[in-house]
Symmetry: C2
Subunit: 462 residues, 2 copies
């Protein structure tokens, strides 16, 4: 499998460099032994997987993932960074996910790790992080989240590999009918993977909070992760990046965006439950626009946390405060500050000139969707497209799908076609090559194109 990854900071008129040659492991095969995972290099020119194990020289933050020899292999995927600095707010990571099975006991630890690599449960991991307030959180997330996930999966690996997760870990069955209770609740192995993804995001968020505080830095980032494991693709999203499945006759969203607008009810409800979070400076109610003095006493359209429809209320003085969520669409802001409502970091973020914290309103928890890859009749051209919001601001799912189909059908022989496709998608947002909308993205844009063919055939099994 190869994955094309491109990202760029928009430079008006600046041509994208051609991608470098694929690394020696651009097509993955089983690895004889795990090698340390590395973030992709951040070059201004082109890079390939051959360079991926070289540690970048400078790090803006100290990451707990650094210096550890993780059972990861980033070498199988072709990763090319186009025109981004190492300190860009968009960051990414991908690699092979090797999860130790615990049955052998800790004493065999090192030897077993070297001699019995086939006893790893292996999968693949792709992640995009879109930072704000600086690159620090995104860089930490790219360095950390995969190891949080690996640890969480290893802690519950018995539940992941079983046909049905055991009620008790280590199979200390207390009640003979325990499997029946698990079955009646409909608990499947994939629910344990989902739980591991959820807790990995939370753990990573805590790590970022500690690290940023220790280094006196700030910032936050969205996180979009795809994990291929045991014939399924898990897509975990916290923020406004997006993943879609593109096939010949199907376009399927694999994630939803989490913004102040899409999470309005949750955010308003939190302010209703803990009004002190607004410090008397904001109103939790939503109005069509910010109210003014001459609206006082009139009946205006409004929504509260428990409403999906709209009603009218008589305007009181407290309604004139700045709204908890203001603006619409891409302009919508939480507490006048943030455009996303889920993500990692932002522990220190406060509303300008106040002591009002953003963090209580932000969730690090992702929403996870599961694609049954092994149930699909996969074709060569079936891919997942993962991208930060810069792409989706300019192109709809359908437009991306049309570009994907026509590009792949026209480039059947090119061994780099998935990387080229990622580059072409980014080009389409830059007002070059006659993009389908004529719109341009002024945001960072990062794209993974992940071919699915081969995934559903036990490729990422034990």
């Amino acid at each position: 499998m190869s994955a094309g990854w491109f990202r760029r900071r928009f430079l008006p008129g600046g041509p994208l460099p051609a991608p470098g040659p694929p690394g020696p492991r651009a097509r993955p095969g089983p690895r004889a032994s795990p090698v340390p995972y590395r973030r992709p290099r951040f070059l201004r020119g082109s890079g390939s997987a051959a360079d991926a194990s070289r540690r970048p020289d400078a790090r803006p933050v100290r990451s707990p993932a650094q210096g550890r020899s993780l059972p990861w292999n980033a070498g199988y995927a072709e990763i090319i960074n186009a025109e981004k600095s190492e300190f860009n707010e968009d960051q990414a990571a991908c690699g092979k996910l090797c999860i130790r099975r615990h049955e052998f006991g800790a004493e065999e630890d090192h030897e077993w790790q070297v001699l019995c690599p086939e006893e790893f449960l292996t999968g693949h991991y792709w992640a995009l992080f879109d930072g704000h307030g600086g690159p620090a959180a995104a860089i930490l997330a790219a360095n950390t989240l995969h190891s949080c996930l690996r640890r969480r999966l290893e802690a519950v690996v018995e539940g992941v590999v079983a046909a049905q997760p055991p009620m008790h870990l280590s199979s200390r069955c207390v009640c003979p009918s325990d499997p029946q209770f698990v079955e009646e609740k409909g608990i499947r192995a994939e629910d344990v993977v989902i739980g591991a993804l959820e807790s990995a995001f939370e753990e990573c968020d805590e790590v970022i909070g500690r690290e940023l505080e220790a280094s006196g830095q700030a910032g936050g980032c969205t996180a979009l992760v795809a994990v291929s494991l045991q014939g399924k693709l898990y897509v975990a999203n916290a923020g406004d990046s997006r993943a879609i499945l593109v096939r010949q006759d199907e376009v399927r969203p694999l994630s939803s965006e989490f913004t102040p607008e899409t999470e309005r009810r949750r955010i308003q409800q939190l302010a209703f439950t803990y009004p002190e979070l607004l410090a008397g400076e904001f109103t939790r109610l939503e109005f069509p626009r910010r109210l003014r003095g001459d609206d006082l006493g009139q009946q205006v359209l409004f929504r509260d946390y428990h409403m999906s429809g709209w009603s009218y209320k008589r305007v009181e003085k407290s309604d004139l405060k700045y709204p908890l969520i203001h603006g619409q669409g891409r302009q919508a802001r939480l507490l006048g500050t943030l455009a996303v409502s889920r993500g990692l970091g932002d522990h220190q973020l406060r509303v300008l000139d106040t002591d009002i914290q953003l963090k209580p309103f932000l969730l690090p928890v992702p929403q996870v969707t599961v694609l049954e890859v092994d149930q699909l009749d996969l074709q060569e051209e079936d891919v997942i497209v993962m991208a930060t919001d810069g792409l989706w601001d300019v192109l709809s799912n359908e437009q991306v799908a049309r570009l994907v189909r026509s590009f792949l059908l026209g480039n059947r022989e090119d061994p780099h076609r998935f990387s080229e496709l990622a580059k072409m998608l980014i080009h389409s947002t830059q007002g070059v090559e006659g993009g389908p909308t004529g719109l341009m993205s002024y945001d960072d844009v990062s794209v993974f194109v992940i071919p699915l063919h081969g995934q559903g055939q036990g490729h990422s099994g034990h």
Copy 2:
């Protein structure tokens, strides 16, 4: 339009009576003047719409809707009560919804109401209420909810009839760009109807709370309401009844069920936010089964409010408490007591032998879905089926759709075919007439069959 409504309490082997002849207004036309709305009579035999304006002799509760001359007309629909007492826990209501337009000022009130009926905005209303802990709440809801809705719609009727709701009621435009703000927020007339339905459910819940307290009665009920208005069908649901659209080549759910299982995260989160609601007697965590002493110290599967997946935790003593939500499927109970998580009433309901209240965990707010009836190419056999959970426990949506299609195609000439269809659906749950599943419902079952043909052609316009 005619609507067939059937309900019965299961009596083993008891044959259903044949329906009576249709009332004179079984096919509705415009009414010259509004007549008081009445709940359908509760007869052991058959009734028809001709009887519907006769007030039932006995009322178990005092209803604020009684004695009022509401601009309603229940006469257009054929309503037949099969083998249920007036005090059954299932209750229903249907009628014409006449919403006064406010432009004329209050002084013209009575005269205008008589002389200018065409200035009503008219629609149709159907409602099913499935009571628990006695019929009192369901009877109150059947008597009250339609008038709450009418009042709420009249209060915002300007927003309902406009192409785009005005930001300010009474068109006192403060800012010239107000319509633009409303448009940017995507606020449509249907959002104002949804808001009216939401607030009507809340108001009705408050009325039921006051009335039950005043009369020393108890109980609660689910509520499923369909409203046909201006070419759209609004389905508002709070509880575990269900409405589906059945067409020749389509079955579309129009509601979701609200049970302790489907609302687990909301319920657990409330207990996390206000742990005092559990009075130290319950654990908010979900486990595959109730834990016991010998689970202590082991790692078991669990879920908390922020998780959609499952993980493992080490069992502590507090985890041995009774679970906030216990059991699965139809057996799932909130605080060991209730099988639904939304509905009206239950203000006094407490966990047996404790002071723990159920009400904080119950929402009266419905979820509203909108069917664009005027966008459908309607056929004679296109219907909405609304039914209480007794039907859906035994028949799937697809099974109901198959029964609907084959019955209607085989009974094209029968003027009572929609009523007969409702009766047949109930028969299918009673183990008679060779029901498709062989399953039997021991619950009350109530069914509306609403033919859609004619609805999308301005039939229920102003």
